[in-house]
Symmetry: D2
Subunit: 444 residues, 4 copies
């Protein structure tokens, strides 16, 4: 492992490539150093560390640390904090060294650093989802009344609108945003066994130890935890759940765009499709494909985080904690990449009204057969409706068949209105309006 041969540039992960600077090893290393520095500053705040030590620690440069070398050195002790502390101490003046990592355990620093990384990544995921939802709101408003076929179990069912379909995407994204907004990402400071005994010993009192914890969280830019969460891993699983839910939301969008953009359907298209190495005519729905690749992978990663939480035995478990780190990071990566692609997908999404109309007509009007049952059933009886459906199945024109049945039943109705799909979209328009005019407020 040398800095010349990094493991992974994202070559096999186009959905995340270019969207992972916030969660790269470099970003983790920066956060690890920030966590160590936050502790020194906290010691300064409680009046223990001298200002010179605080200043020296604050000047520590994470970019001076060789991440690849650190990764290699992390193997011996099983985590990167142990060698990092040694490296950072070398970079400090001798009288400041004692305050670095003082009283802390590796888990304090690593958990806190991962929360710092997560907090930054979540802000960007959130931003991409907000952009996605905004673009989709515009799209939904534009296509509020464009009638399309609703499809269930792959088959045309009844009419709906493009606007309403888009609201299913928006509502899922808004809900995921709510989960991201509600996350608590706490700092971790518990010492070797979660008792904070080292901090009480060092600071000389329980109150000072508590002040230290609060100052540490503040300097780390994170929430202060009620108690150490070293083996109470909801901060990780709730984060994981919210990330998976975010990817689910854009996964649903991508599934619809990929499906409705099939050559035969063509109702939707990405703004810029990807090319093919062999077939010049193809415009592949690349963003959808990439988002879907993330959506297929994310749930399994979330599952591993839950498993690790359930297996968090003792005061630090023998493997479960270590399984979390790369898993959480990969999940952050997928959420970053998938949401970024979703934002550009949503921005460029194109609706083909002609294709939609052609598709809507594909069943010869039988997409309205539910309406026929409701309207004509009471007038003509269910058998007559079944007869109409059968006739159309055999090639008859629906309007003619309806008119014949009405005549036979001695009934009268505005057949053109009855058979207008736009007249059978229920609350679609108002369900769109609720979403498109409901401006999402930014949290303070």
């Amino acid at each position: 492992m040398s800095s010349e041969s990094p493991v992974d540039h994202g070559l096999l992960s186009p959905v995340t490539a270019g969207h992972d600077d916030l969660v790269s090893d470099r970003a983790v290393l920066v956060a690890l150093v920030e966590a160590e520095v936050a502790l020194v500053r906290a010691y300064g705040d409680v009046g223990l560390a001298p200002q010179t030590a605080v200043d020296a620690a604050s000047r520590l440069d994470p970019h001076a640390v060789d991440a690849a070398a650190l990764a290699g050195a992390a193997v011996v002790g099983g985590n990167p904090v142990i060698p990092l502390v040694g490296t950072l101490k070398q970079a400090l003046p001798e009288d400041a060294r004692a305050w670095l990592h003082r009283g802390a355990t590796s888990q304090d620093i690593l958990d806190t650093a991962l929360m710092i990384v997560a907090a930054r990544a979540v802000i960007r995921v959130r931003s991409s989802l907000v952009q996605t939802a905004e673009a989709l709101r515009r799209f939904a408003a534009s296509h509020r009344d464009d009638v399309v076929a609703a499809r269930t179990l792959t088959q045309h069912a009844v009419p709906t609108t493009m606007g309403l379909r888009a609201t299913t995407w928006i509502r899922a994204i808004d809900r995921a945003l709510g989960r991201l907004d509600a996350l608590e990402l706490p700092a971790q400071l518990g010492g070797a066994g979660g008792t904070l005994a080292s901090f009480v010993e060092i600071t000389g009192s329980s109150d000072a130890a508590r002040d230290l914890v609060a100052a540490f969280a503040r300097h780390a830019g994170l929430a202060a935890a009620d108690a150490p969460w070293h083996v109470t891993r909801w901060p990780v699983t709730e984060l994981g759940d919210a990330l998976v839910q975010s990817v689910d939301a854009v996964g649903k969008l991508a599934a619809d765009v990929a499906t409705l953009g099939r050559t035969e359907i063509g109702e939707l298209a990405e703004g810029s499709g990807g090319g093919s190495s062999a077939m010049p005519q193809k415009q592949n729905p690349v963003a959808s494909v990439l988002i879907r690749s993330a959506a297929l992978r994310a749930p399994g990663l979330g599952s591993t985080l839950h498993l690790a939480a359930a297996l968090a035995a003792d005061e630090r478990p023998d493997g479960a904690w270590h399984a979390e780190w790369p898993t959480l990071r990969e999940l952050l990566r997928l959420a970053l990449g998938a949401s970024a692609h979703a934002a550009s997908l949503a921005d460029g999404l194109r609706f083909d009204a002609d294709a939609a109309a052609r598709n809507l007509a594909a069943t010869g009007g039988l997409v309205l057969s539910e309406r026929l049952s409701i309207v004509l059933g009471p007038v003509l009886g269910p058998d007559a409706v079944a007869g109409i459906v059968a006739e159309v199945g055999s090639g008859a024109v629906l309007a003619d068949a309806v008119r014949r049945a009405l005549a036979a039943g001695d009934a009268d109705l505005d057949v053109a209105a009855l058979l207008d799909p736009a007249g059978y979209t229920g609350l679609a328009a108002s369900l769109v309006d609720e979403v498109t005019t409901d401006e999402r407020e930014e949290p303070a």
Copy 2:
């Protein structure tokens, strides 16, 4: 498939056997009928269905339906609602039949029924978790100051208290309770394509259709959804996440009890261990083992729910929706079983103070080596502390080694106090008090 050969009594699932009446096929069938009845009542509320139809529907007896036969009949159409509607209509007077399932699609009824089932199951899971947490609060208070070894990566690390360890269980359970309390379990009523067009057609207006939706949710005893969530599956995944988090929480408890009850450790024991078919002396930690079996299974089920959400293409997907039903039910079952076992485990949990003391002494006092570093390091230098640790590793008595080192360093200290593990438990006591005196309030 006949009623003589039910598929599953729970023979292979002792963790759930006896705790699944709320989610059995019978319970699902009851909820399916309740959902259908709720719709008829809603039609009554909006002034459409005559009171006679409402009354007739209200008298429908789900127990008169043969669940096994229905399961068989469900295969043809792919879901049990289609044959159920036929069966229920037979049980209604002719003039009431038209109001049954009117305008609804199978998904409306099945999703609503699963939410009804889930709501009931969640109440019981919640109750079991509250019981578990209450028993653990008593346990934590009782053992607030019982000093034990904190273990990290399987090795003794520093002292902690049994009380503090118990708070890690309690905090995880409390957090899971918060997730359960925050769940929204909405009714589903969207019609064939999620537009509610059928309900607008039948009721004659958008306003009446909206009233119908609200009345339906009310009669189903569920929250009213902002919009149909037929392909916006957060109600399912958020439920799943909260259930998995609940199982994680008791899984962590079980992992600790199983580990700390090992023959050589013996710090904890279940109130009543299970026997063995071959070894009369054994008292197996059966509750812990069963809870752990659930904790290993739950994350994968939660993952499948997320996958189904991400693949919810179209207005009803071609498999993803169907994958949810048994998965969600099994997850409810695991949460019911695991939480019930946790409640009895917590209630009977026994702490063996002698074993704890014996264990704490196992390292000859080196469980305090961190404290030695902190206290003696500045006085005698780090080399002297390492020397003490090495001496003890070679068989010396710690107190003697410390006294020798202090003498050599011309320093003085209360060695007995320094080496008392009870003096190095940091904030443990107050962290226990915060949890044991923080009475959890029942939601209104």
Copy 3:
């Protein structure tokens, strides 16, 4: 838990309902009794158990045991074998009782019973897959030369044939059959700690104990294991992997049928589609949908089996073993149901040649653009080919554009042949022939 309220008839699992008699609790109970009887018979074989005991054991009737009651009783000890032994002893004459379960541990019986159940289920899964593959061979042969559009990333790519597409299904199924055929399903007999000490003690010699193990496997109808596999769980994970692979194979088939049967595509249809509760015109691809629901669930179950294998600590683990039972059974159930539905799906599968031709023409011939690049590129240069593609994109007729380009380039070619999709299907026909004439032999 009483026999009046069984947990599960399959109401929420239409993909498995009616296909699970071989893995029902009743079937498990039968196998548990068979395993116990096999041990008594083995004791007879090695000359220890008197014939009267063997005969009495052989008359034990599993149907006389109340499965629901047993499920309830299983909770105390954590597995159903402990109460079952008690129940069965009651049914034996006193002098035979000593030989029942003699020297065995619960795991011996439960693991063996699950292998018995699995062996039977695998035979049926195998049979369903063989039926599926045979029907698909007929289908592939029938449609050997029917040209269709190959689709990549949802877009038309190049021509292929319906026959060749069907071979991708067949090859996956054949491969899964190979995995099922190669499975080893061994009996388990190791005693309490896997040493067979009890059997050596009872039989009086190592040789007799080994004979007992061999006789036990023989009477159980299973392979004899090299050694106890109580915590070497490859028999379970390899079985799980083969089952998941089987479900994957039919899942791919179902994915294609569902996709290609979409209203706008219509190339494929199930022989008998399912109805809808609201829309009389719909013919849903119910078999495909149900198979897909299994395919989405199976991988997670397989994953849980691997996890249990990796966590099989000690000589019997504290939860991992218990997590296997319901997981393995559900996976067997999914394989049984999915393969049975696949067999009927394959049998009734219909190809719509008109729809296929209409689809193939959807790109105005650009489905052949790769061929144009290969054939015309060297003659006219790549820019000319791009020009043709662009012209067709703007509405020109492909043959005209090609002819114009050839004329401009002063070149000559049989344009009709060039633009015939049937002329650009490569090895499709022979790849079909290899599969359709390669009769799969039944294992002896």
Copy 4:
């Protein structure tokens, strides 16, 4: 994404750091180029590409390609092959360019490259597992007759031997080796739709196209596939299954070492434990912890591969294929890292005979209670045995209690021999011998 900020050095994955050079992005890039070169060489073999083109292609230097830049460029088209072809063409003389990637599709190259990468990684995983098994054979032979307590559900059950326990590890590893040896890792060459039409067109005949396929596989150093497996993904899932099984096997080893090395148990220790950042006395079982972190992660990754196989719709699916790449690579990485750590763990594994003896005595001899039942039961009756167990539970010495019971029952027995755990280890010794003398042969 620049070459200055690689995504991942392994900082968060100590189990794999330093063991992933064979699967790094650089290694993938090398394999991608090898796959492209193999195709040019294959064209040379069938007499089409001129030797100058073959030579020029053979000189292509993958190290001249900027992997990070390629990763960035891969996003547009959704895979790295498209931009790679462009880059490589620039590096070729003009007359050789036409032969690069000729007739191929991205999937041909990427699938083949991943199989090349996998083949190399599997050889190393295999080698590490062979080393692990060899070291464990020596360990098992050394400790063939060292009696230890067998533990079931965390409790002492009966005696076993350290040697026999080690054979459970060896058998699992040997089985995994068998699966790795049986893998088929085929090259992929099917062209855009899996028909090989482009190759037939280019080579002018079906036979030549087949020759090309064979030559391609040969030059890629892989097996030749019966047919394109573009959407028949068993090569990926079988590989994944075998890798997960490999990780399971070492996971079981690690679980036992971590458990039996707990401070209170101390039967096993790693050769060199890892240090702690805070507690100088600790010797953490780092290799076991790291291996376990891999074992918790691998099953979920295998599951994602199966899911992708089941969702491989069309002739190339819209996301499922893309989900495979990083998943398979991460699984290879875990198998490489976990097996390498297992080899060193096995090599340094230490058994503490004193601790084992102390543990074995922990139940006051009741670890032999099964034997008492078998031997004394028939002589004294089951109640007498229960009485002995109860007496010992209340503090009596077992030998005394047995002697008293024998006297009361007027029976005689060699009590010392009866109570010697070494006399109750059944077939342990011969089960060890079978494994330790069964030299595994290297495949030719």
